[in-house]
């Protein structure tokens, strides 16, 4: 009753939220019901709610296949690599950019490194292919110039975590560095002023003032990344690797795996089991890490 009263009292205000509410309900909440399918044997005619229960059979099937370990490891390992190097390079970048006094140079460099953020992974995939394809890729032509043997990159699984990390840094570090640079600019000039009077070098100012004051932002960015550590970047992996099975051992992530289970095998139940497993792991990670951060640095926690 109180709820209704509040709604009626502010009916004009709440009515503004109706479209958003509907979109959330339809596109974010209604699909949640499909998690039920993880415990069912899905039949198209019977639908999500009518299909027969099968208990944990789908999970048993998924966990019996050693693939689950591989894709879980790949997802976490690749995301950890991406996260670490993106943040490390972006921080370095923001610190360096901040040292530049020449405004034009600064703006130009900033524009260049932000540019890759604006293109789709498909466009990136062509660039990667031009660089690494086995027959006439730029990398192999450089190798030949140095007198090294050519590498058939697209047939060599172990190099891909490195290549993908480089690509992810290339695409996202510029974007992260802008967030970091904004926080650096927000640091009061007084700190630097007094450090200079005490005779600190520029390098010391960076390590002793800027970096410690950036810590909260870096922690938040890391936390946001860790929260998504069980969610592979489908656009990136599928865009660049596609259906190249040779590279699956090092590049296949939960998202590409469940996509193939659904689209190529048409196995809705199995795909649901994978997705539910992924959602639960993702939720656990964020809760645990938030608890840890709450202990270390209360102000940096997410909730």
């Amino acid at each position: 009753m109180r709820v209704l009263q509040e709604l009626i009292k502010n009916k004009y205000l709440y009515s503004l939220a109706i479209p958003g509410f509907i979109f959330l309900a339809v596109f974010s909440y209604a699909p949640l019901s499909s998690h039920l399918l993880a415990f069912k044997s899905f039949q198209l005619q019977k639908g999500v709610f009518g299909s027969d229960w099968v208990g944990f059979d789908n999970f048993r099937f998924f966990f019996d296949n050693p693939d689950w370990l591989k894709i879980t490891w790949n997802t976490v390992y690749l995301n950890a690599l991406f996260l670490f190097f993106q943040i490390a390079i972006a921080t370095l970048f923001a610190l360096f950019l901040n040292e530049i006094r020449a405004a034009v140079f600064k703006r130009l460099v900033q524009s260049f490194v932000f540019l890759p953020y604006f293109i789709s992974w498909l466009v990136v995939s062509l660039m990667v292919f031009g660089l690494f394809n086995g027959t006439n890729g730029i990398a192999n032509r450089l190798f030949a110039w140095f007198g090294w043997e050519a590498v058939d990159w697209y047939q060599t699984p172990w190099v891909w975590p490195i290549i993908l990390t480089m690509v992810s840094v290339w695409k996202n570090a510029g974007y992260l560095s802008i967030i970091l640079l904004a926080s650096i600019v927000g640091i009061s000039g007084d700190y630097y002023e007094s450090a200079r009077i005490d005779g600190a070098t520029r390098f010391q100012q960076v390590t002793k003032i800027t970096l410690p004051l950036l810590r909260p932002v870096i922690i938040v960015l890391t936390l946001l990344g860790i929260g998504k550590i069980f969610y592979g970047d489908f656009g990136m992996i599928y865009g660049i690797i596609g259906d190249n099975g040779v590279l699956y051992p090092t590049t296949d992530v939960i998202d590409t795996y469940s996509y193939r289970a659904l689209r190529q095998l048409g196995d809705f139940s199995m795909s649901s089991a994978i997705v539910l497993y992924q959602s639960v792991m993702g939720l656990l990670t964020i809760v645990i890490f938030n608890a840890i951060v709450r202990k270390i640095d209360k102000d940096s926690r997410l909730f």
Binding site: L13, F23, S34, F112, M127, I197, G239
Partner: protein, 291 residues
């Protein structure tokens, strides 16, 4: 005086050298791939078969001629432009209005709505539910709507709006209420005009998202008439596109076509980039404020 001397010491200069070297290398590293893609799209097919080069020795417009000979590219452009425009307008309106309620002091359920936005970011529904929703429940496969509606309500952009709306002085709202304006009028006639900067920023983020998306097209679009640019690009990159181009040319310039298609796809972004970049920077700065 003392500080000035220190600035010129050897180690200081070494430090600056490293800084400049790093930045120049990074800047070039980000720019060169674009340069290669653009300049090589005008290179002759014979040259491209030997791999990409920084400075082509032979130029040709063959790839573009081939690309524009069929009307598929125009259809796809139409689809992407329509999706981007409609999606952006709808997205900004829905997301901003929702965020306005969350940010409003009078709304007791603001926290509930904010929680409702946040939860799906933490516990997703995943591919299967989404696929069934679109295909079996909403029957939106192979429609323009399927490329628009799923992204309309965006939690991340909503929080950008919330942060901005909370920064506005509440007196504006109070005085308008006293003057007898209802919340719709306040939102559209008072809040909207003073929120132009954040609206611009979020609009650009929306446009970028719609323009670059190929996930929805990949899942739900099989009808070639509805292919957005990104899906057409994907078909061309996978060399599966030749049936889309019913032209008289016997041997299509496959490599050049890929590059030309990439240029056509990223063209509007690259041209708009110098003018809109600052709004994106502003948006990231706003979004990074926790709240």
């Amino acid at each position: 005086m003392e500080a000035k001397i220190r600035e010129n010491t050897m180690s200081e200069r070494m430090f600056m050298f490293v800084v400049y070297a790093f930045l120049i290398l990074a800047g070039l590293g980000c720019l060169v791939p674009f340069w290669i893609v653009v300049i090589d799209s005008f290179a002759s097919e014979k040259l491209l078969n030997k791999g990409y080069v920084l400075f082509p020795s032979e130029y040709s417009m063959e790839a573009y001629r081939y690309l524009f000979k069929s009307n598929q590219i125009f259809k796809s452009y139409g689809v992407t432009v329509t999706v981007t425009l409609l999606g952006t307008i709808l997205g900004v309106f829905v997301t901003a209005a929702f965020a306005y309620v969350i940010a409003h002091r009078k709304a007791k359920f603001g926290n509930f709505l904010s929680m409702m936005t946040y939860l799906p970011m933490v516990f997703g529904s995943g591919l299967v539910g989404f696929y069934l929703l679109i295909v079996n429940w909403l029957h939106m496969k192979d429609t323009m709507m399927v490329m628009i509606l799923p992204y309309v309500m965006n939690p991340f952009f909503a929080f950008i709006f919330v942060t901005y709306f909370r920064s506005l002085p509440y007196e504006i709202n109070e005085s308008a209420t006293v003057d007898g304006a209802n919340e719709w009028r306040i939102f559209f006639q008072i809040i909207r005009p003073i929120s132009t900067p954040v609206i611009t920023t979020v609009s650009l983020f929306f446009s970028l998202q719609y323009w670059n998306d190929w996930w929805l097209g990949l899942l739900f679009i099989d009808n070639t008439n509805l292919y957005p640019l990104q899906i057409l690009l994907r078909q061309i990159l996978n060399s599966q596109s030749f049936k889309l181009f019913s032209t008289g040319v016997l041997i299509p310039p496959a490599e050049g076509l890929k590059l030309a298609m990439v240029c056509v796809t990223i063209g509007p972004i690259v041209f708009a980039y110098p003018f809109v970049q600052k709004y994106f920077v502003k948006g990231l700065t706003l979004g990074s404020v926790k709240g």
